[in-house]
Symmetry: C2
Subunit: 199 residues, 2 copies
C-alpha cells in the first residue's frame, strides 16, 4: 500500500464537496488510502489576501453557475445553500475529534455534513445540526459535544490549519500526493495521473 493521499477540505467549499464524493474511490483504484484533513478557508484566505469566491464581481456569478454545472456533470445533487459560505469550525472540530477515535464514523460524518449543506441546505455552522449529523453517523452525541468544546481539540484544529497554511494550502480542496500539491476539484485528473506516475 502506498502513502495515503492528503485531502484538505472546508465543509463550506462546494468544490471540496464535489471532490469528497470522488477522492476515496479514485485513491482506492491506485491502492491508496485518503487522509481527510479539515482546514478553515477563512484562515487560508486571510493568509493569501483572498475572499470568498461568490463575493468577487463577475467571478462570483460565474462560480455559482460552475458549481451547479460541475455537480450535474458528476451526477451529484447540488443546491447553493443560504447562507453561503458559513463558518465550519464546529463541524471541523467534531470531525477531528472523531477521526482518531471512530475513523469510519468520522468519514460518515464528513459525507453527511457536505451533503446536508450542499444538497439539503441545512446550516452546518449550527453546532446542533452538527451533533444531529454526528449522531446519525453513529457517533456518541454527548462525547462529540464535549469534543467540540475541548481546548485540546480546538488547539489540534488550529495546528492543522496553521500547518496547512505553512505548507501553502491557500484554498480547498487541496491535495498532496507524496508531497506534490494540487489545488481544486478540477485537478482530480492530475491527482490520479500523479498516483500512476509523476511526470
Amino acid at each position: 500500500m502506498n502513502a495515503p493521499v492528503e485531502f484538505w477540505f472546508d465543509f463550506s467549499s462546494p468544490y471540496a464537496y464535489l471532490a469528497s464524493e470522488r477522492i476515496d474511490a479514485l485513491a482506492a483504484k491506485h491502492r491508496r488510502g485518503v487522509d481527510w484533513r479539515p482546514m478553515l478557508l477563512g484562515v487560508s484566505f486571510k493568509a493569501a489576501g483572498q475572499r470568498p469566491l461568490v463575493e468577487i464581481p463577475l467571478k462570483g456569478e460565474y462560480s455559482k453557475h460552475d458549481f451547479e454545472r460541475s455537480a450535474r456533470l458528476m451526477g451529484l445533487p447540488f443546491r447553493l445553500p443560504d447562507p453561503f459560505p458559513v463558518g465550519t469550525v464546529s463541524a471541523a472540530r467534531a470531525f477531528l475529534w472523531a477521526k482518531t477515535r471512530h475513523p469510519a464514523e468520522a468519514k460518515a460524518l464528513a459525507h453527511a455534513a457536505f451533503r446536508a449543506y450542499f444538497s439539503a441546505g441545512r446550516n452546518i455552522s449550527d453546532s446542533a445540526v452538527v451533533l444531529d449529523l454526528a449522531t446519525q453517523a453513529g457517533l456518541p452525541r454527548a462525547q462529540v459535544e464535549a469534543g467540540i468544546a475541548d481546548p485540546a481539540i480546538k488547539e489540534a484544529l488550529r495546528a492543522e490549519v496553521d500547518g496547512a497554511v505553512a505548507r501553502g494550502v491557500f484554498g480547498a480542496p487541496f491535495f498532496f500526493v507524496d508531497g506534490e500539491p494540487f489545488w481544486g476539484s478540477d485537478r482530480l485528473d492530475q491527482v490520479e495521473r500523479w498516483m500512476v506516475k509523476p511526470w
Copy 2:
C-alpha cells in the same frame, strides 16, 4: 458547421497559452471553428477586483509550479518569462488588425506571440518584437505598425475588451460554446463535452 467556439485570451496568460495549443484541434474534432478574441487581463482584473496570480501570496507560488507542471503534462514547452506578466496591448492590436484582413496570418501571429513569450522568453510587450513576429508570420510589417497606431484599431480593441467584461469575462482563457461560459484551461474537457451535448 456549427457556430464557432469563442476563445478569449490575453497573450500574457500562461493558461491561455496552454489552451491556444489545443482549442483549434478540439473544436475541429466537433466540426467547429474557433473565433480567437483578444482581451486585456488588466481590465478584467480591475472589473473583478483581482490582481495577477503570481502576486498573490501562497497561490502565486503554487501557480508558477502549476503552469510548468500542466505544460509538461500537455507536452508543451514552457518557461515562466521575465518580466511576467507584461502588457499586451500592442500584440492584441496587431492581432485584431490582422484578424479580418489576413485571418491565417493572424492566427500564425497569435501562436508565434504565445510561443515567443512562454517558450523563448521574448518580451512581447515591446512593439518591435510584435512587428518581428508579425513579419515572420507573413504579415506586412509597415501596415501592422500603422494598424497598431490606428485610432480605429485602438477603439476596436477597447470595444472588444469592454464587451468581454460586460459578458462576465473576468479571466483568461475564457470560452463560450453557443453562449455557455467556461473559464480556464482546466475547463477544456467541459468545453469539449458541451460541444458534444450540453448537460
